[in-house]
Amino acid sequence: MIDDAGPLTVDLGTWEGPLDLLLALARSQKVDLRVISILALVDQYLEYLKRAGASHLDQAADYLVMAAWLAYLKSCLLLPKVEQADPSPQELAWRLQQRLMRLDAMRDSGARLMARDRLNRDVFLRGAPEGLASDRHVLWQVSLYDLIAGYSQVKARGTPVLHQVSRRPIMTLEAAMTRIEAMVGGMRDWTAIAAFMPKIGDPDFQRSILASTVVAMLELARRGTLELRQDAAFGPLLVKAA
């Protein structure tokens, strides 16, 4: 195709970098890449670059770098074989050749890879597999000893807390219910809740009495023993026998 393109203006954008162009040129020699003439290749490359013209120079910096390097390589190759720097120009030419062969091999391999029998293009998997499921089932490990030791720890830890709790002055729910049940029988009119509460100075105890009394009344109302009324939010709670 490069042959065909011969006299035309070369668009560098067609090639992905100088190596790509060099490979195309080397292939145009229609010989095994291992025996291409580096000198001919260099000439062709420089010729193509010249034809590409100034219009592409801005986007062709790496092409020019390669051109300079190739021109240097060519001059070295043409010089008589005297004491030359290591690596020798022959060595550098060989490496360039290797590089082109390698790129060519990868290009060829890529094409062969793409041509293989590909999944969902040439071969197909089962359309609707049932699928495999895994249920995790945990076997909890605990021995009778662990159980007993655990309870012992709870008991040992729990004890000090109990003394603290029992010191707090409390009216139990049971007590509040007994008290209200005894009193409510006579309450035929709506009566404020305060009437059911004993007058005791200790504010902690007062709070406990209030809490227990309210809960006890809710429970008794649920059982149908008494009725509750509150005319407004946060207003006084009124009670009478049902």
């Binding site: 049932e130 089932h137 109990l162």
Partner: protein, 195 residues
């Protein structure tokens, strides 16, 4: 085994790759042949008794794995895990105090328990809900199950060592334990139970 003919192969591949069951007509149309009944029969015969079978459901055909192998497609992986300390203690409290509400368990442990702790014990099959307590809030109570007894090799819940046994065995180091106090507290605290 004879070499399969092209139509049989094609029918097999088509049914295999299809995402939905296909009717015989659909397959015949796709393959541009007048009839595929015979090919269907041959595919079905090839798989009969194997780990794949061709079945018809309402005129549509599809491949499936045989029902007797269904258990292989679901596997249960058993992993052993140690019960957390909260789990052990909660289980112990349920065993010693059942039936017991969550608030009561918390009162006895002296710390709150997460919902997950009870869930784990229920999932393990050791405790189960045991009715609601007839007090305000009607809290749900929990008790141990027969599985619990068999797992721990107990004939009866009363076989669990009592407080005196524990103390005698040196497992309970603190003096002054009193069951009555605990029980009173449990009752008191149940009034606070919110859930």
């Amino acid at each position: 085994m004879t070499a399969p003919d092209d139509l049989v192969r094609a029918v097999e591949a088509l049914l295999f790759a299809s995402e939905v069951p296909l009717t015989a007509d659909e397959v015949a149309r796709r393959l541009d042949v007048p009839d595929v009944r015979d090919a269907f029969a041959r595919v079905a015969a090839r798989h009969a008794g194997h780990g794949i079978e061709l079945v018809e459901r309402g005129g549509r055909w599809h491949f499936q794995t045989p029902a007797d192998l269904a258990h292989l497609l679901r596997e249960t992986r058993e992993t052993a895990r140690r019960l957390s300390r909260a789990g052990v203690e909660t289980l112990a409290i349920v065993a010693y105090h059942e039936p017991v509400s969550r608030a009561e368990i918390e009162a006895i442990r002296g710390v709150q328990i997460s919902r997950g702790t009870l869930d784990v014990l229920m999932e393990a099959g050791w405790i189960a809900p045991a009715g609601r307590r007839q007090i305000p809030g009607r809290p749900l109570t929990y008790a141990t199950t027969p599985d619990f007894l068999s797992h721990f090799g107990l004939a009866d819940r009363r076989d669990l060592p009592g407080i005196e046994d524990l103390r005698a065995a040196g497992m309970l180091k603190l003096a002054g334990d009193d069951w009555d106090i605990v029980e009173n507290e449990a009752e008191l605290e149940s009034a606070d139970e919110s859930d």
